[in-house]
C-alpha cells in the first residue's frame, strides 16, 4: 500500500490530475481532486475525469509537489520575451513546395 500523503487539517490532500487522451498525445492537466494517497488518487481520477472515455493513461501528482511561478514574478519572467519578435521564425522565406512545415 502506498504511503499516505500529508493531509490538510480539513481532510485529504489535493492532487493534480493529468490525462492522456490517446496514444501519441501528451498528458494534459485536467483538474484536481482530493484523495488519501496516490493509489486512491488514481482511482478517483479515473472516476471523476475519465468516466466518459476521455483517457488511456492518468498521472496524479501531489499539488504540494508542484513549483509554480508567482504573479509577483510575472514581469521579469515573461515581459522580456514580448518585444523580441525576431525569435519567431517569421523572417525566413519558405521555399516554394516545402512540405510539413
Amino acid at each position: 500500500m502506498s504511503q499516505p500523503a500529508e493531509g490538510s487539517k480539513r481532510g485529504w490532500p489535493l492532487w493534480e490530475v493529468f490525462v492522456r487522451a490517446r496514444r501519441g498525445l501528451a498528458h494534459q492537466h485536467v483538474g484536481s481532486l482530493h484523495a488519501p494517497d496516490a493509489a486512491m488518487a488514481l482511482r478517483n481520477a479515473r472516476d471523476v475525469y475519465t468516466r466518459r472515455g476521455e483517457g488511456v493513461s492518468i498521472w496524479v501528482v501531489p499539488s504540494a509537489a508542484i513549483v509554480a511561478t508567482s504573479p509577483d514574478e510575472k514581469d521579469p519572467f515573461f515581459d522580456p520575451a514580448l518585444d523580441k519578435a525576431y525569435r519567431h521564425p517569421t523572417f525566413y522565406d519558405v521555399p516554394e513546395g516545402a512540405k510539413h512545415l
Binding site: 500500500m1 481532510g11 485529504w12 481532486l33 482530493h34 484523495a35 488519501p36 494517497d37 493509489a39 486512491m40 482511482r43 478517483n44 472516476d47 471523476v48 468516466r51
Partner: protein, 253 residues
C-alpha cells in the same frame, strides 16, 4: 403483478441476477451527496450506474424470455417485494461507510467469479453481458479492496469499524452460493453458484488477512431472497424507488 407467476428457468435466473444488480444500484445511489468526500460520491455513483446497466440488460432479457409482455421498467417498478428474487445481502441498509465497503467487497468479488463463469455460458445474451460486465465488476472489487485495506489496516478506530462492518455483512454471505434451481435445469448455460465459492473465498480471505481483519463466523445466516422472502428493508427501498413511476405511470423527462 401477481405473486403466483410461473417463470421459465432461464427467465427466473436472469431476473434474479438483474434484481441483485438493481437493488444494489438503488442502495449505492443513496450515498450520493452523503459520501465522505465528493470524489467518493462520484465513485459510488459510477458503480451504481454500472450495476443499473447490468440490471437493465438482465431484466429486459428475463422479461423477453418469460414472454408475458413485461419490459425492464415494468419489472423494476411494478413488482411487489415478494416478486423480487435478489439475495438479501443487497437490500440491507448501507450502514456506515465500512458496512457498505464490506458488502461491496463480498458482492463484487462474487460477481467477478460469476461473470467470469458466465462468459462461457451457452446462452449468447448472458455470455455477452458477462463479457462486458466482468471488467466493470473487477473495478468495483478493486475499489472495495482498497477501502477495506485502508480502513482495516488504518487506525485502531477504523480497524474496529471495518471489522464491525464485516461482522454485520457476513450472515448474508452463504445465501450467495445457495444452489440455483436453474443450474440443474440449464446445464452449460447457468453456473452452479457453489462452484464460485472457492475462488471467492481465496480472494476475500487474502484481502481480509492483509487488512488485519478476521473472517467473521456468524451464528445465523440469511435465506430465502431467491424465493421472494425478504427483510423488512426491501419494502422501504421499493417504496422510494417505485413511487414516481407508480404515481405517474410512464412519466418521462
Amino acid at each position: 403483478m401477481s405473486s403466483v407467476r410461473t417463470v421459465p428457468p432461464l427467465a427466473a435466473y436472469a431476473l434474479a441476477l438483474g434484481d441483485d444488480a438493481l437493488i444494489l444500484a438503488q442502495r449505492l445511489g443513496e450515498w450520493v451527496s452523503r459520501a465522505p468526500q465528493i470524489e467518493e460520491d462520484v465513485a459510488l455513483a459510477n458503480i451504481a450506474l454500472d450495476l443499473l446497466g447490468q440490471a437493465r440488460t438482465l431484466l429486459g432479457y428475463g422479461g423477453a424470455v418469460e414472454g408475458a409482455g413485461w419490459d425492464e421498467d415494468d419489472l423494476a417498478y411494478l413488482r411487489d417485494d415478494r416478486d423480487f428474487r435478489n439475495v438479501q445481502l443487497v437490500e440491507i441498509p448501507n450502514g456506515d461507510f465500512a458496512v457498505t465497503m464490506a458488502r461491496q467487497l463480498v458482492f463484487s468479488a462474487y460477481q467477478c467469479e460469476l461473470y467470469a463463469a458466465l462468459e462461457r455460458s451457452g446462452d449468447a445474451t448472458l455470455a455477452g453481458l458477462a463479457g462486458k460486465a466482468v471488467k466493470e465488476v473487477a473495478y468495483h472489487r478493486d475499489h472495495a479492496t482498497q477501502w477495506v485495506l485502508r480502513l482495516g489496516d488504518g487506525t485502531e478506530l477504523s480497524h474496529d469499524r471495518m471489522q464491525a462492518g464485516l461482522d454485520q455483512v457476513w450472515p448474508y454471505v452463504d445465501e450467495l452460493f445457495d444452489p440455483a434451481a436453474a443450474a440443474s435445469q440449464l446445464p452449460g448455460i447457468v453456473t452452479d453458484p457453489a462452484t464460485l465459492r472457492p475462488a471467492w473465498e481465496r480472494y476475500v480471505t487474502s484481502v481480509l488477512t492483509e487488512a488485519t481483519c478476521r473472517t467473521p463466523e456468524p451464528r445465523w445466516r440469511s435465506r430465502g431472497g431467491r424465493d421472494g422472502l425478504h427483510t423488512e428493508h426491501l419494502g422501504h427501498l421499493l417504496a422510494e424507488m417505485q413511487h414516481l413511476h407508480r404515481s405517474y405511470p410512464g412519466a418521462t423527462w
